[in-house]
Amino acid sequence: MAIPLSHESLQAVGLTLKLAASTTALLLVVATPLAWWLSQTTSRWRAPIGALVTLPLVLPPTVLGFYLLVALGPQGPLGQFTQAMGWGVLSFTFTGLLIGSIIFSLPFAVQPIQHAFEAIGKRPMEVAATLRARPLDAFFTVALPLARPGIVTAAILSFAHTVGEFGVVLMIGGNIPGKTRVVSTQIYGHVEAMEYAQAHWLAAGMLLFSFAVLLGLALMKRRMDRILA
């Protein structure tokens, strides 16, 4: 049987995977220190920063996308900055899409890692200090390995969530084939054009993928619990 997907649809799948992988990698780098800070600090900034990080969870993606579009646009503060740096205007580009995705999925990465750090507690880091480990050394050799289940969860959720996003993508990516058109917007396009067969294939693929991710997470959690018990 020939592959039932059009060239454009395959291109959208490829772009989606690329966007999700890049978003996940960058998110882990950003979210891990942020989650550590949130789990350790007693600063009065903890609550406002924590709320800010959680905001994308409740905000309509169009609101977030709209503000990003304005900020990244030629007249926006970020747009002015990127132009001054010689990077051009990022709205309607893959980079712009990536920035939007990172912000949109931030809570999905920060929260599992933060919970993992909080579950570890202060004790292992104190033990490490009494065994001559400097704080940064202890962070990499004790806190990070112990938080691994949380980090894996964060990576999977970020990836899956990025694959599933629609509103932000449409707002700041436009829907440019090969550049910013991902699976979710491609499905929308197919439906608009009454190409229900193509839409079905992609939609079913997304459904299976999302189910597999959640099932995989649940199975992994059960295994972790068994090891820890």
Partner: protein, 360 residues
């Protein structure tokens, strides 16, 4: 005193202030004893540098770890110490060897491997080296935690109730290893506990802490017998007697332990003649008589002199402090008995001891 441990720390907390000054010799176990909330753990954390609000002086040998007046304050990881926490707190992502080597790799010692092997042998964990830590029993975990702290060859070992999270059987499994450490290690150890039994068995020096203050300190036999320290007045009150095995009665499976004020017959545990032992005598097992007791099932008695009479744990009870030769003893009796026997300081009496526990 330059070679020993000098501690003078203060830590104000809401509703509680720790203020402790201690001078300790350069080896042996100093047991820090007291009820929960008395500041024992906080004291250890101050010495280790884990309490950032603590102020004062911590000095060991020539090394100054903290002297806030002089602006000196080494961070925890630069203090040459070993810390054993109440729960073993092993690193779950490493196996036993990984745990043991964690601290070792961060000290720049040439004899590191030798120190590690010495610690492994001292705690008897040779066969556990490749095990993942989640497969260890509670007692094994705590022994690995102690070996991990010792593997860096620290100048000071801090132990925070290392047996509190273990059941009775596991405690009895660990105790011989701790006694071995007391006898073989040439570093000072601060051992926090609220168990009089552990204090009696392990202490070379005993410090009683209450509400953040030192209530009593000194030789364990003296401190345990002091009626004035109220933490001792519970059902566990008792004294320690240093004695020597001098005679064996093979027919009746008894051995005789002699101390300056007399001698007691105790169950034969196979100790050779000449062994130095500690006898633990609980106040509730000691009764008093005015004449030498005869025709009684209690085999052990000795002559003593009343030193002082204090309050017991119940209003009906009095705790009588006695001298038996040079040795302090405690007896828990009713106040009516004190009245009827007309007990008062300097009065000679006979003590009968129902149970004598021998501790190595």
């Amino acid at each position: 005193m330059n070679r020993g441990l000098h501690i003078a720390v203060r830590l104000p907390r809401p509703g509680f202030a720790l203020s402790v000054g201690l001078d300790l010799p350069d080896q042996g176990i100093c047991v820090v004893f007291g009820p929960s909330g008395s500041g024992k753990t906080t004291l250890l954390r101050c010495v280790a540098g884990l309490e950032s609000a603590a102020r004062g002086i911590v000095r060991i040998g020539g090394a100054v770890w903290q002297d806030d007046r002089a602006g000196i304050r080494l961070p925890v990881w630069q203090r040459d110490l070993g810390y054993v926490f109440q729960e073993a707190s092993l690193f779950e992502h490493l196996d036993v060897r990984g745990n043991l080597e964690y601290g070792l790799r961060r000290t720049r010692r040439n004899d590191g491997e030798a120190g590690l092997m010495a610690a492994v042998k001292l705690l008897g964990i040779e066969s556990l080296m490749t095990r993942p830590v989640h497969t260890l029993s509670g007692g094994e975990r705590q022994r690995v935690a102690i070996a991990r702290a010792l593997a860096t060859q620290p100048r000071l070992l801090l132990l925070d109730e290392p047996m509190a999270s273990l059941d009775l059987a596991r405690r009895q499994e660990i105790m011989p290893w701790l006694e071995r450490m007391r006898d073989e290690l040439r570093i000072p150890m601060l051992y926090v506990t609220h168990s009089t039994d552990e204090a009696a068995r392990l202490a070379d020096h005993l410090v009683v802490l209450d509400a953040g203050q030192v209530r009593a300190q000194g030789a364990p036999a003296e401190v345990l017998a002091s009626v004035e320290s109220p933490v001792m007045a519970g059902g566990d009150a008792g004294t320690l007697v240093h004695a020597r095995i001098v005679e064996r009665d093979a027919d009746w499976h008894l051995i005789r332990a002699e101390f300056p004020g007399g001698s007691f017959w105790i169950g034969d545990g196979g100790q050779p003649i000449g062994t130095q032992v500690r006898l633990r005598i609980l106040a509730r097992d000691v009764s008093l008589q005015l004449q030498e007791p005869t025709q009684t099932s209690i085999q052990n008695h000795a002559q003593a002199m009343v030193e002082s009479i204090g309050e017991g744990p119940h209003p009906s009870q009095a705790q009588v402090r006695l001298r038996c030769g040079g040795v302090p003893l405690l007896a828990l009796v009713t106040k009516r008995a004190v009245n009827e026997l007309q007990l008062s300081p300097r009065r000679p009496v006979w003590v009968q001891v129902k149970t004598v526990a021998l501790i190595p």
